[in-house]
Amino acid sequence: MALPLLIEGLRVRRGFRTVLHDVRLRVAAGEVCGLLGPNGAGKTTTIAAALGLLVPETGHVRLFGEDPLDASDGMRARVGLVPERDGLTDWMTAADYLQYWAVLQGRPIGPEGVTALLSEVGLDASPDLLTARCSQGMRRRLAVARALVAGPELLILDEPTNGLDPRGRRRLLGLLHRLARQRGVGVLLCTHLLGDVERVCDRIAVLAAGRTVAEGPLQDLLGRGGNRYRLRLGGSVPKMALCVDSAPVRLLHQTQGEALVELGANVAPETAWRALLFAGWPIQEVRREAGGLEALYLSLTGARAEPQPAVADVTPDGDLA
């Protein structure tokens, strides 16, 4: 069975600017995947590409095994979307709005269906409330109900918990978890709230500057936290494959004067640094990155976590201190 969403090597240009360079992402049925990244990393553009709203330069996007640009209109009904801004209509009641949306999705629903949907998101007491009179939290929940109106097999949510109080947030996360586990819905949750990700996500992808810098099961990525090191560099890094005792040293991220590397499970750090220095890496300082999702996120996206003690200082002549 085809994955609800698979993106590989996605490169997207907006005007004359390339906004996505190399994005990969997969969302399986029954799985909640978190899409993380700083503002401007390309999350919303990735969602637009997933929905077939823009044409990629290279790479491919597959929605249920089909290219969304060529897929039939009906295929889009299999996807529910909660965008960052809800875009609701102020002059309609919640019930009328959901019935209108069901018609657009080609799956009209009656009053019972509306009641069930509103109940699912906790708005069952307000079917006849004008959306203009809804609070921010109610609007978010109505946007979620709108996404569920056609019984989607893939649910894409962009910052869905914005404006929700803690109880509403917990309720929504519980709903996402239920949808994935009980109905086999694939969920792509795009959020800045790492607590939400830790609570419900099975898998994450981290975007930074238009690239996927990490992608995989959340527990696997968290488990490797102790093997990530931030290197302060005195110059540029030579372009060559890195191997220390046959175990790769992965270059996760590089900025001006800094690099984030992940060592293989059995690689002794001192051995790795010597090998890198020998290969021409101008390493000046090495710091171990902290564990946990926040540290992982910060290190992957180029921001510094709270400083950890330096594990090695490198003298100008290459000796480890």
Partner: protein, 191 residues
């Protein structure tokens, strides 16, 4: 008696008379071979008002020994009220303004009916002129003068209720809608 000067032709016209009793008149001072007459259609209203349509029948006879070629027949409307004497722009009164007759054989007749839409009140006279390139001084016929009775075209009793009532009604609807839409804005979540 009103004397009107038009293109150098002196016309004599009597005071307005009822249309039904109007008799055709011809004026043919220069071109004896072409004769023109104009008469109102007797089926038209006897006391016309603004908005009515009046038809005028004209007829040109070629009395000459040879055919008249390139003959132009045209319509002129004169307003003859004292103080308002003028030739009326036919633009909005009639789509029939002039006709070119290529050839009218000797002793032949051409007849047409032209219709006027009575746009403004006042007293008028219809003239029909005919000329050829060879005889540029026209032959002109004039109808009897006729009076168009005025009619009030914009009645404030109709305009006022519409012009004031509709915005008022829409304003009430808008206010109602705003009150309904804003009442209770900011309702808290009821989890």
């Amino acid at each position: 008696m009103i004397r009107i000067v038009l293109h150098g032709i002196v016309l004599a016209a009597s005071a307005a008379v009822p249309l039904a009793s109007a008799a055709p008149r011809a004026c043919d001072p220069t071109a004896a071979q072409l004769a023109v007459t104009v008469t109102p259609d007797p089926r038209g209203p006897t006391a016309p008002r603004m908005g009515d349509r009046l038809a005028f029948r004209w007829m040109v006879v070629n009395h000459g020994a040879s055919a008249a070629t390139g003959m132009i027949v045209w319509l002129t409307l004169l307003r003859v009220d004292t103080g308002h004497e003028q030739a009326v722009d036919l633009e909005d009164w009639s789509t029939d303004k002039a006709v070119l007759v290529d050839n009218l054989a000797s002793n032949n007749i051409i007849r047409r009916t032209w219709t006027l839409r009575l746009i403004s009140s006042g007293t008028y006279r219809v003239l029909v002129g005919v000329a050829t390139p060879d005889v540029p001084v026209p032959t002109v016929a004039a109808s009897e003068a006729f009076t168009v009775a005025p009619k009030l075209v914009v009645e404030s009793i109709r305009v006022l209720p519409v012009a004031l009532g509709i915005p008022f009604t829409l304003g009430i609807l808008l206010a109602f809608r705003l009150v309904r839409g804003h009442a209770g804005t900011g309702t808290e979540d009821a989890d």
